[in-house]
C-alpha cells in the first residue's frame, strides 16, 4: 500500500464465493447443458500393456442414439500427440496420444470414445466396441523396468529410464566418510491419488460459422490448456476459449492437460455439436495422475554435536506409463532431490533422481510435489540421528537450521531461500504444544504401557515462482508471470480480471481484498473474474502455490496504475494538485482538508464523461492491465508437531494433538489461510495413515473404488491448532508467500516421526508410508511386541 490505510488485507473476510456455492448455484462443468449436446464415454484398456490389433465399432455405431465413435487412428488425423518436452538432456520426451495408438501402457488408458444422446446410451455403446488386444509382458515396477531384459514401454525412448538428474555440492563422499555418525535408511512413499470430489470433466463446443472452439473444463490452468490446444489442434489461439469457472478441487491433479480434453475437442469439432464428458470415480482412480511412488535411499552424516556434514540420496520414482504435459515425468523425482536438504545448512550434498516408466497411470503434480517425500526423508533422518546422539528432536533441528545471518541462502540444489522463520516457527510450535508438558504426558502414558509419541517436521518450500526458473524442472513452458485487469465502470464499481483460476482457494475474496485496498473501494464493489481465457489478460492458471503471489502482485500493480489516474482526475475535480490528493476509504480528499473530497463514483463517472470533465490531454477511461513477474519466487516455511497414540490392540493411529506454525508472509485473509492449512494437513494425514494406490503384478488397479482407496472422513481428522509467524517476503510485491500446498508437505513426516517416537521402546523406525495398521502389525510383530 502506497497510500490509504490497509483495511481489507489482513482481515478475516467471509468468502465472496460462498453464497452461490452454498445454494447450489455453482457453475461446474457438469452443470452446463447447451442445446444439441452429446454425452461422451470412453472405452478404457483392461490390459496393463498390450498391442491393439483391431477395433470394431460397428455394433456401437448401430445403436440408436450414437452419433460417433473415435479411435486413436481417427484422432491422430485431427490432433497431434502430446509431447511434454524438457530442456534437460536426461529427460526423454515421449508421445502421449489422446486415444491409445497401437499400444496401451496402463489399465484405464482411453482407447475409444463414443458420443451419444445420453451418457447411458454412450456407455451401452462402449460395451459394444470390440477391441482385439495382444497382451504384452507387464512392466510392473521400477526394479523390473530397469532390468535390461524388460520390455521397453516407449520405443522412441529406447529405455524405461525417462528421467535422470543429479544435484551436487562439495565432496559429500569425504564428508560422510569422516562423519562421527552416519544414519541411513531406505524410505518408501507409496503411490497416492488426489481424489478431487469433482471428477474430471469437460464440455467442448465448436462454432462452425466462426471456427471458434470453447472448452469448459475442470482445469486449474485454463491458459495452459488453451495454449497447447492451439498447437495440438492447429488452431489460432484467439479462436480457442477455455473456461473453468467453478472447479471441485484440484490439488495439482487438474493442472495437467488430459487426453480426454483433446478427444472431446476433436469430437465436437468433427460433429459440430457440443460434446460433454464427465468422468466417473472409477475413471478418476484409473486415469487421473497419481503422485509420489518413490523409493529413497538416503544417508546423513553428522558431527558428534549433531551438525550436518553431508547428505547423499538416491531417488527412484515410478512415473507410470506416460510423461504428463507440461510438467513431464521429471516433476516428482527431481522436485524430491531439489528439496531434500530442507531448511538446514547442508555443506555437502549429492541427490540423484531417476524416473522410470511402468504400466501404471502417469505420475503428475499433487499438492506438495516431491516435497512430502523429501520432508519425510530428511525429517526421518534427523530424528534417527537425534535418537542416536541422545539429542531432543527439536534441539537437533535448531542446531542445523539456516540462521538469520545466512539469508539469502543458496541451497545445495541451487534454490535461494529469502529471509524465513525456521527457528522462530519451531520455537513457537514447541510453545504451542507446551512441549515439556507434552513430553511429561508421554512419559506417564508410556509408564502405563501406552504407545504415545510426539513428532516434529520442519520444512521450507519455494512458492510464487517467477520466470527465472521453471515450475517443473527442465520444463520449457514459461509460467513466470500473471496479469490483472482492473476496470472501473462509470458507477464506480470494479471488475478485476485474472488469468489464474480458483478451485477452492477463495481467490475471488483474497484478490478482491487486495484490489479494494489499492483503489479505495469496499470489497462489495469489487467483482473478481477468473478462469476464462477470453475475459482475462494472458495467464496460465493456478498451481505451485503461485496465485496469491503472482495475481496478487499483478493486482497491486494494476491497482496502482488505476489509483494514479484517479488521483489526477480527483485533483482536477477538486481543483487541487494531484500530489496533494490522498486516498481515504471510499473517496479521495485533499490532504489535510477532509471536507474537500470526491467519491470514487464521481471520479469514475468523470473518467467516462468526456474531455470537459478531465484534465487537458488525459485519456478517458479508468482501467489498467499490468503484468507481474516475481522472477525467482519466495520461500514459505512451517513446523508441524503431532502427538499420536498407536492403539495396542487395533494398531490404529489416533492423533491426539496437531499443531502447525506456518509463515506465509503477509496474510491477506487468516480465515482462508487457516482453511488451506486444515485441508492440506488432512490430505497429509490421509497420505501418512490411510491412502494407497495398489496395483497387482499384472498392473490391475486393486484400489479402484472409494471403499478400497480410503480418503479420510471427519472421524480420522483431529482439530488442528494453527498459528502464524508473519515474515513479509522481501522479494514479492505485498510481501506475500504462497501457502496452498504446505499442509500436505509437513504432515506425513510429522506423523511418521510421531509414530516412530511412540514405538521407540520397541526400536521401530517408520520408513514406509502410509503406515497402515497392517504395516504396524508387521513392524510390531517383528519387534517382538
Amino acid at each position: 500500500m502506497g497510500v490509504g490505510l490497509p483495511r481489507l488485507v489482513g482481515a478475516r473476510v467471509a468468502r465472496r464465493e460462498d453464497p452461490r456455492l452454498l445454494t447450489g448455484q455453482g457453475s461446474y462443468v457438469d452443470d452446463h447443458r447447451p442445446a444439441r449436446m452429446l454425452y461422451a464415454a470412453f472405452l478404457r484398456s483392461p490390459h496393463a500393456h498390450a498391442r491393439i490389433r483391431r477395433i470394431d465399432a460397428s455394433a456401437a455405431l448401430a445403436l440408436p442414439g450414437v452419433a460417433a465413435v473415435l479411435t486413436g487412428d481417427d484422432i491422430a488425423r485431427s490432433a497431434k500427440p502430446v509431447r511434454a518436452a524438457s530442456k534437460t538432456p536426461n529427460v526423454k520426451t515421449t508421445s502421449y496420444p489422446p486415444l491409445a495408438l497401437g499400444k496401451v501402457r496402463h489399465v484405464g488408458e482411453a482407447v475409444a470414445m463414443v458420443a451419444a444422446e445420453s451418457r447411458y446410451v454412450a456407455e451401452d455403446a462402449v460395451e459394444r466396441i470390440v477391441v482385439e488386444y495382444e497382451p504384452l509382458p507387464v512392466v510392473r515396477d521400477v526394479e523390473s523396468a530397469l532390468d535390461p531384459a524388460s520390455p521397453v514401454l516407449h520405443d522412441e525412448a529406447e529405455t524405461n529410464l525417462l528421467v535422470s538428474r543429479e544435484f551436487a555440492r562439495g565432496d559429500v563422499d569425504a564428508a560422510v566418510a569422516g562423519a562421527a555418525l552416519v544414519v541411513r535408511e531406505r524410505f518408501r512413499f507409496h503411490r497416492h491419488t488426489p481424489v478431487c470430489m469433482e471428477n474430471r470433466g469437460c464440455l467442448a463446443e465448436y462454432a462452425t460459422g466462426s471456427g471458434a472452439l470453447t472448452l469448459r473444463s475442470s482445469a486449474q490452468c485454463p491458459g495452459l490448456v488453451r495454449d497447447i490446444l492451439t498447437d495440438l489442434l492447429d488452431m489460432p489461439e484467439h479462436l480457442i476459449r477455455v473456461i473453468a469457472t467453478d472447479v471441485g478441487g484440484g490439488f495439482g491433479a487438474k493442472a495437467s492437460l488430459y487426453p480426454e480434453e483433446i478427444a472431446t475437442c476433436v469430437m465436437a469439432r468433427r460433429l459440430g455439436r457440443p460434446v460433454k464428458w464427465i468422468g466417473d470415480r472409477r475413471e478418476d482412480l484409473l486415469a487421473t495422475t497419481h503422485a509420489w511412488d518413490e523409493i529413497v535411499d538416503a544417508e546423513l552424516g553428522l558431527n558428534q554435536d549433531g551438525t550436518i556434514v553431508g547428505l547423499r540420496a538416491e531417488v527412484i520414482a515410478d512415473v507410470g506409463g506416460y510423461s504428463i504435459y507440461p510438467w513431464t515425468a521429471a516433476i516428482e523425482p527431481v522436485q524430491t532431490i531439489s528439496f531434500l536438504p530442507g531448511p538446514y545448512r547442508v555443506p555437502t550434498y549429492r541427490g540423484r533422481a531417476r524416473g522410470v516408466a511402468t504400466c501404471k497411470a502417469p505420475l503428475g503434480p499433487y499438492r506438495g510435489v516431491g516435497r512430502p517425500p523429501a520432508v519425510f526423508v530428511i525429517e526421518g533422518l534427523m530424528d534417527r540421528a537425534a535418537r542416536r546422539l541422545g539429542l531432543d528432536p527439536a534441539e537437533i533441528r535448531l542446531r542445523n537450521f539456516i540462521r538469520d545471518e545466512d539469508f539469502p541462502y543458496k541451497s545445495p540444489s541451487g534454490i535461494v531461500w529469502d529471509r524465513s522463520s525456521f527457528t522462530e516457527s519451531l520455537q513457537k510450535a514447541r510453545e504451542a504444544l507446551d512441549y515439556k508438558a507434552a513430553r511429561d504426558e508421554q512419559a506417564r502414558a508410556r509408564a502405563a504401557g501406552r504407545w504415545v509419541g510426539i513428532g516434529i517436521a520442519s520444512y521450507v518450500e519455494l512458492t510464487g515462482i517467477g520466470s527465472a526458473i521453471p515450475v517443473s524442472p527442465g520444463m520449457p513452458v514459461s509460467t513466470g508471470t500473471e496479469a490483472a485487469t482492473i476496470r472501473f465502470d462509470p458507477a464506480g464499481k470494479v471488475t478485476a480480471v485474472f488469468g489464474v483460476a480458483s478451485h477452492g482457494q477463495g481467490l475471488e475474496t483474497t484478490l478482491a481484498q487486495i484490489v479494494g485496498d489499492e483503489v479505495g473501494v469496499p470489497i462489495e464493489d469489487v467483482r473478481v473474474v477468473h478462469g476464462d481465457t477470453d475475459a482475462s489478460p494472458y495467464g496460465t492458471g493456478t498451481y505451485a502455490s503461485r496465485s496469491l503471489v503472482l495475481a496478487g502482485g499483478a493486482a497491486i500493480l494494476a491497482g496502482r496504475s488505476v489509483r494514479e489516474k484517479m488521483l489526477v482526475i480527483a485533483g482536477h475535480l477538486l481543483e487541487a494538485d494531484p500530489a496533494d490528493v490522498t486516498l481515504a476509504p471510499g473517496r479521495y480528499a485533499v490532504r489535510g482538508m477532509p471536507d474537500r473530497s470526491v467519491t470514487v463514483r464521481q471520479i469514475a463517472r468523470a473518467a467516462y464523461s468526456g474531455a470537459k470533465h478531465l484534465p487537458k490531454g488525459l485519456e478517458p477511461g479508468l482501467e489498467a492491465t499490468r503484468f507481474y513477474d516475481p522472477y525467482y519466487g519466495t520461500a514459505s516455511n512451517a513446523t508441524h508437531a503431532a502427538m499420536v497414540e498407536v492403539d495396542r490392540a487395533t494398531l490404529e493411529v489416533k492423533i491426539l494433538r496437531y499443531v502447525v506454525v506456518e509463515d506465509c508472509g503477509r496474510m491477506v485473509n487468516p480465515l482462508i489461510v487457516d482453511g488451506q492449512v486444515h485441508g492440506g494437513v488432512a490430505q497429509g494425514i490421509g497420505a501418512a495413515l490411510l491412502e494407497e494406490i495398489v496395483y497387482d503384478d499384472q498392473g490391475q488397479l486393486l484400489s479402484g473404488t472409494l471403499m478400497d482407496y480410503v480418503v479420510p472422513s471427519a472421524c480420522e481428522i483431529p482439530m488442528m491448532e494453527v498459528h502464524h509467524v508473519e515474515t513479509p517476503s522481501p522479494v514479492t510485491l505485498g510481501g506475500f508467500r504462497g501457502m496452498g500446498e504446505g499442509g500436505t508437505i509437513g504432515a506425513p513426516a510429522a506423523i511418521a516421526n510421531a509414530v516412530a517416537d511412540a514405538l521407540a521402546p520397541l526400536s521401530i523406525e517408520v520408513a514406509e508410508l502410509p503406515v497402515t495398521p497392517e504395516r504396524l502389525f508387521r513392524l510390531t510383530r517383528k519387534a517382538g511386541a
Binding site: E198, G248, T705, M707
Partner: protein, 160 residues
C-alpha cells in the same frame, strides 16, 4: 431402449412429473430432468455423499437410487434451503466458519448435517464428526464444517 416410465414426486415443495428410463439414477433425474444441478455426483457408488438429499425427510444418497424409486416421494435438495432470499442458518454458519472451499461436497454436506441436527440437536464434537462422516470433503480438513455444524445446532434447535 427400455420403456419410459412416469415419475411423479415433490421436490422442495413443488410437484414434478417426468418420464425416464427405469434405469435412470435419481441424481441424474434431479440434475438433468428437473434441472436442479445443486446436487452433485461424486462417486456413483454411495461412498462420497456429494449427492445426498433428503428423501421423505431423511438423508439419502441419490446416486444409488433409481428415479422410479422416488415415485410419490418428497425430496429436499440444497436449492430449497434459502428462504425469502436469505441463507438458511446452517448455510450462514458454513460461510462464517469457512465450512466450504471448492463447494462440491457442500450440498451433500448441508443436507447430511441438516438431517443429523434434526436427530441430534445438541451434539458433541465427536458426534458431529460421526454424523458428517457420511460425506467426504477433500478441501477443509472438516474443521470449518465441524465448527459450522456446532455453531448452527443451537440456532436450528431454537427455530424448531
Amino acid at each position: 431402449m427400455a420403456d419410459m416410465m412416469t415419475v411423479r414426486l415433490k421436490v422442495n415443495g413443488v410437484e414434478h412429473e417426468g418420464r425416464c428410463e427405469p434405469r435412470k439414477l435419481l441424481v441424474d433425474f434431479i440434475r438433468e430432468d428437473l434441472g436442479l444441478t445443486g446436487t452433485h455426483v461424486g462417486c456413483e457408488h454411495g461412498i462420497c455423499g456429494a449427492c445426498t438429499i433428503l428423501f421423505n425427510g431423511e438423508a439419502a444418497r441419490s446416486c444409488i437410487m433409481l428415479a422410479v424409486q422416488a415415485e410419490g416421494a418428497e425430496l429436499a435438495t440444497v436449492e430449497g434451503l434459502m428462504r425469502d432470499g436469505k441463507l438458511h442458518p446452517l448455510q450462514e454458519a458454513f460461510r462464517e466458519h469457512h465450512g466450504l472451499q471448492c463447494g462440491f461436497c457442500t450440498p451433500g454436506m448441508l443436507m447430511t448435517a441438516l438431517d443429523f441436527l434434526r436427530t441430534n440437536p445438541t451434539p458433541s464434537e465427536r458426534e458431529i464428526r460421526e454424523g458428517i462422516s457420511a460425506v467426504l470433503c477433500r478441501c477443509t480438513g472438516y474443521q470449518g464444517i465441524v465448527n459450522a455444524v456446532r455453531a448452527a445446532a443451537p440456532v436450528l434447535a431454537a427455530g424448531r
